[in-house]
């Protein structure tokens, strides 16, 4: 059974159709990368999966249960209240711009959501947070505030914050795009290290080598549709003009 299934998703903003009938599937522990030129709808796909945007047609299925869909008459059905909380606890999202809470220390950024929103024990959460920080190479930054950290450090805190809620699937929305090139490496390294945790990841990225290395499955999106998909090897060697043009552009 797939952890996440998105079927026949459509989304438009005003008159512009950003996603045109896309379907995808993520299995437990699987790593999916979504690549493609800017404006191809990659980030919108993530925002639909995390319900920051509502879909205009199609359905979203988590753990085999249909949680969001659009009725034939156009009525959008989304979970509410406790149900939404339950669904929401399955996934986490790492933003391009981190979106850490600037008035909270690193520790509080990570521990407040599990303590306050999942009602978990303080000691347990703190112990887990310290482990996460160690994994992120930030064990000495517990009491620092986001403004005292580099972009790379901020993004690692944001990853720890998302992981602290124990999601089954973690979405990354261009996690390194806001970073200087020299800081990109440290974040990618951390994401790679998460593979051992065996949680599913969906990564929107422009880092082709990284995507090739880490992904079980890759989707190349172009103009709101899936242009190519398959294993890393299949996608990067596909005989697809747009795909090759895109890769060529990146290499320059």
């Amino acid at each position: 059974m797939a952890l996440l299934e998105m079927n026949h998703i459509r989304k438009h903003f005003g008159g512009l159709e950003v996603i045109k009938d896309i379907s995808l599937k993520v299995n437990e522990g699987e790593i999916l990368s979504i690549i493609g030129p800017s404006g191809s709808g990659k980030s919108t796909m993530l925002r639909c999966a995390t319900m920051l945007e509502t879909i205009d047609s199609g359905e979203i299925i988590y753990n085999g249960e249909r949680v969001a869909w659009v009725e034939p008459d156009g009525k959008k059905v989304y979970p509410k209240g406790a149900k939404m909380k339950e669904v929401g606890s399955l996934f986490g999202l790492v933003f391009q711009n981190f979106n850490l809470f600037p008035h909270y220390s690193v520790m509080k950024n990570i521990t407040d959501p599990p303590i306050h929103n999942q009602k978990r024990g303080r000691d347990e959460v703190f112990a887990e947070a310290r482990q996460l920080l160690k994994k992120m190479g930030l064990e000495d930054k517990e009491n620092a505030y986001p403004c005292q950290l580099s972009g790379g450090q901020c993004q690692r805190v944001a990853i720890a914050r998302a992981l602290a809620l124990n999601p089954k699937i973690l979405f990354f929305d261009e996690p390194t795009s806001a970073l200087d090139p020299e800081l990109t490496g440290e974040v990618l390294k951390v994401i790679k290290s998460l593979a051992d945790l065996h949680i599913a990841m969906v990564i929107v990225t422009h880092e082709m080598n990284f995507a090739r290395e880490i992904s079980d499955h890759i989707i190349f999106m172009d103009q709101g549709v899936v242009a190519v998909e398959g294993s890393a090897h299949d996608v990067f060697n596909a005989d697809h003009a747009r795909m090759q043009a895109f890769l060529g552009k990146l290499q320059h």
Partner: protein, 225 residues
């Protein structure tokens, strides 16, 4: 200088005592206005930003009237309004209440716009992050958004609060014996301006104190940007 010092017979200590008593009344107007206007302003700003067009429009009108007419007229309107509107006999006990109502609804309008500027300046990312981390709408606002809003609006709030101290003197139009009213009365009796000088000093010291406290508050939030 003769205009200031000439002809007084009231002992200086008595004058200080009188003005001090007036100062306490000014401070109670100040404190009660903040107590009511700060939360009221927040609710007005919610209404102003509401998706409900009627509520939004009503708040717009409210803010525009409060900011567009002199506070002194509002004081008179609140106090004498029940009589002019309904022919009600307002009796004596309503004076202070009217002052607090007028000040609170006036300042709430200004505070509402300051809150709005702060709330609207927050990036949507903060709301989205909070939502994905499982915060409810109310805790998102109370724990994540509002503390940051306070930090952003503190300088404009300080301005308003200091203006309020000086505005308390407008209560003289309802003859409430706050400090400025007392100063005017002593000045008339003494036929000199010395009481105004003392009153100015009192206002200044009170202002300086408030400015100092606001600065401390601002510093206490300067640990992040």
């Amino acid at each position: 200088m003769s205009v200031i010092f000439y002809g007084g017979t009231m002992r200086f200590s008595v004058m200080l005592q009188q003005l001090g008593g007036g100062m306490l009344k000014s401070m109670s107007i100040f404190a009660l206005t903040l107590l009511f206007a700060l939360p009221l302003g927040l609710f007005v700003s919610f209404g102003r930003m509401s998706k409900n067009k009627i509520l939004q429009g009503a708040m717009k009108v409210y803010i525009s009237i409060m900011r567009g007419t002199p506070l002194m007229l509002q004081l008179l309107a609140v106090y004498f309004g029940p009589y002019y509107l309904f022919g009600a006999n307002i009796g004596g006990g309503y004076r202070f209440t009217a002052i607090i109502i007028a000040f609170s609804i006036n300042y709430a309008a200004y505070f509402a716009e300051i809150y709005r500027s702060g709330i609207e300046s927050m990036s949507p990312g903060q709301y989205e992050a909070a939502r994905l981390l499982g915060y409810s709408k109310s805790s998102t606002f109370l724990k994540i958004i509002f503390p940051q809003v306070i930090k952003r609006i503190l300088p404009s709030m300080t301005n308003e609060v200091i203006t309020l101290i000086k505005d308390t003197s407008l209560a003289f139009s309802l003859a409430y014996a706050e400090m400025f009213t007392i100063a005017k009365q002593i000045a008339a009796k003494e036929t000199n301006f010395m009481p105004f000088l003392v009153a100015a000093l009192f206002y200044y010291v009170f202002n300086a104190l408030v400015a100092f406290l606001m600065e401390r508050l601002e510093k206490s939030m300067s640990y992040y940007t």
